[in-house]
Structure formats: C-alpha cells, structure tokens
Chain length 214, copies 2
C-alpha cells in the first residue's frame, strides 16, 4: 500500500550538518513542487494551509494578503511552522496488495516566519515566484505597483532544519510472490501542461508567447 | 501571485450542517488526491506528514506500519489532526504579476483518529486503497495475509468538520491592465499516467492487464 513511511532511499537531513547532495535534493523538490502545506499550532490545535511558494537561496517564501488571518497570525506571533512539499512520481504496483506503494519525493522542514520588508528582496521574491509558475513570464507582465506592495505580505522561512524522503524504483515483493501470474511494475506519473486557454477578455492581437508554445 | 486565500468560489463546509453539493465537492477532491498531509501537535510544536489515503463513506483512512512512530503517537494519544489534500488544476497567468494565481481544489478537515480493528472494515479499506491507486487492481493481486494484517495499523478520521476551497476560471486583472499587450489565460495542468514500466523480475509471460492499457 502507499505507505510513505516505507522508502527505498531515505535522506534525512539537518542541512547545516550534511553534504551538498542532501541540500540539492531538498532544493530540487522545493523548486519543482507547485504548492506546500504550512502547519502551525493555533490555540493548541493543529492547523494547516496549502499555499504557493518559492525558494531563493536558503529561504522559502510564501505570500498572502495583508488581511489574511493566518499570515498575520504567523507574522505577529512568530509561530513555529512545519512545512511540507510532495511530488508523486509513480504508482508502484506490486504482486501483493500489501506492497503497493508510490514513488515520491517529499520535504518536511521546521522554521519560524520572518516578515520580509526589504524592497529588493520583495521584488526578487515576486520575480522568482512568477517565473517558478511559468518560466519566462516575469519579463512579460506588469510589475507590482506601490498599492500591490502594500496589499501583500511576504514571509520567509530559513531552510535549515529540513529532511527529504525519496522512493524510486520498482515494487519490492515477498520472495514467494514473484512466481505469481500478476503483472507488476511502475506507472510513472507526470504533471502535464495542456494547451493554454486564452482569456476571452484579452486584446485580440496578442500572440501566444514563445515560452508557452509546446 | 498564487495566493490560495484568493478564490473565485469558496465552499466552506461544516458537513453535517450543509447540503449534499458541498459534501460531494469534499468527497470528490479526497477521492482524486493521491496524498494528503496530516498535521498534529507534537510536544507543543507543529508536525506534519504526507501520506497516501482513501475515503470510505464519511471516513478518511490512512495506514502505516505498526512500528511507525507517528501512527502509534496518533493512535495512543488520540491526538487531534488537521488534514489537507490539494489538486492543482491550472496556472492562471494574468497581465500583472500581482494577479497571477492557480486554479485548485483543496480540502482542509479536522478530526481525531480512530484505530480500525474491525476485520471487515480493514479488508474493505485495503481494497478501496488499492483500487484508488489503480482502478481494477484489487482483483488482480494477492490479498493481505495474517502477518500483513498484524504489521499494518489503519486509522480512520470522520469527515465531519471539513471545508473545500475551489478556484476556477481565468485571470482577474485590474481594469486598466486589460489594454496591455500581455497574453493572459490559463495553462491547464493534469496528472498524466505514462506508459507502465514492467518490473524486470516479473514472470515473463504475464501480459499487461487491460486496466493499464491506455
């Protein structure tokens, strides 16, 4: 079964104490994942929210409206968070139900929020965020104006206490099950971009940008 | 930017108090999502783990090794959890960086774990879990044996206090930005199954099952 606690290859990392490979693994997962979940303790109870994010150097960035309750709560109370991001790479179909699993890459990290106030850092975070969503996009779009800066809160989290877990490869069956007449293997999964759908309210003479052509 | 707090359509649900539509939305998201994150409070600090899961009726099920620290901690201490599952349906490319977003469907729910001990419920959960991963798979595989039952802990969580959030549709730009010569629209995303890769250790004469043919 898809038990994420069973892994072929586990990279448990406290980043400052480990080598470059582990840090690269953590960063690569964070750079590919389209969302993370931010968990924190709200009045003694667990709470979590899914949100977009980006990474710059050794920091993870999230942003939201300055009116957002959870952003303000995190920032004002300086609450410790646990953040995770997960990529599912394949379905692992074993000969027995028990050994079914998934191939995946995940990061779990612990940190405290820091409210970003430096304008250059804010600007670069917007750029990285936009280009993470769609490489090449930033150069094309209207850049944030003063009102938009004021409406946005950006929090950073230092990627310091982080662990990556990775499962790759085929099923691991019990010895006696290999003789069973059951197909076994992996169904790889991939997030595919479909054909872009233009906003009907667009100017009619704006062509599809090259970075969106397949 | 991909701020999940901005949504076109928000379904906040306390399931028992709302209509069938909301419950259907929550269930459909849970049935499609390949993983969830389970957050809880560990010694005063937030903790979360990504894990596979399935739904049966009004309960969400996760499972793990009986030796798994977090499974035992959840079960023995009866800890309240916050669980979320998220699907990203598209990149929403607006004319301004600020209004970039994603189309998504997410569920956040609150519950307490219940250790599943009823054999019929355990068996059905294994079946639903396996067929959620790959429809048609259960009939094909070796069913769990006694040792496997004993090695597995299954926890259920009643889907009672749950909310779904959904964003669909195109970008929402500021009025004055619609005149900009910037392409805007949506890049739909889909998790695609690639061609199955057979386990090299398989019996050579086992054909690809029909449910895995494109």
């Amino acid at each position: 079964m898809a038990d994420f606690s069973k892994t072929d290859k586990t990279t448990i990392t406290r980043l400052p104490k480990r080598g470059v490979y582990d840090q690269e693994t953590v960063y690569a997962i964070l750079d590919e994942a389209l969302f993370c979940t931010v968990a924190y303790v709200r009045e003694g109870e667990p709470f979590q929210i899914p949100t977009g994010f980006c990474r710059m150097g050794d920091k993870l960035y999230i942003h939201g409206s300055v009116g957002s309750f959870y952003m303000r709560e995190l920032a004002e109370k300086n609450l410790p968070v646990c953040i995770s991001a997960t990529l599912i790479d394949g379905l692992v179909l074993a000969r027995s139900a028990f050994h079914h699993s998934v191939n995946y890459r995940s990061v779990v990290m612990f940190a405290k929020p820091e409210k970003v106030t430096d304008e250059a850092e804010l600007y670069t975070a917007f750029e990285v965020f936009t280009n993470k969503m769609q490489p090449g996009r930033w150069d094309d779009v209207r850049k944030p104006g003063a009102g938009e800066w004021k409406a946005t809160m950006v929090l950073s989290f230092r990627i310091e206490e982080a662990s990556a877990k990775v499962r790759t490869g085929g099923p691991k069956d019990d010895d006696e099950d290999y003789a069973l007449p059951v197909w076994a293997g992996v169904v790889p999964l991939r997030i595919e971009k479909q054909s872009p759908v233009a906003d009907e309210l667009r100017k009619k003479d704006v062509p599809l940008p090259s970075y969106l052509k397949a």
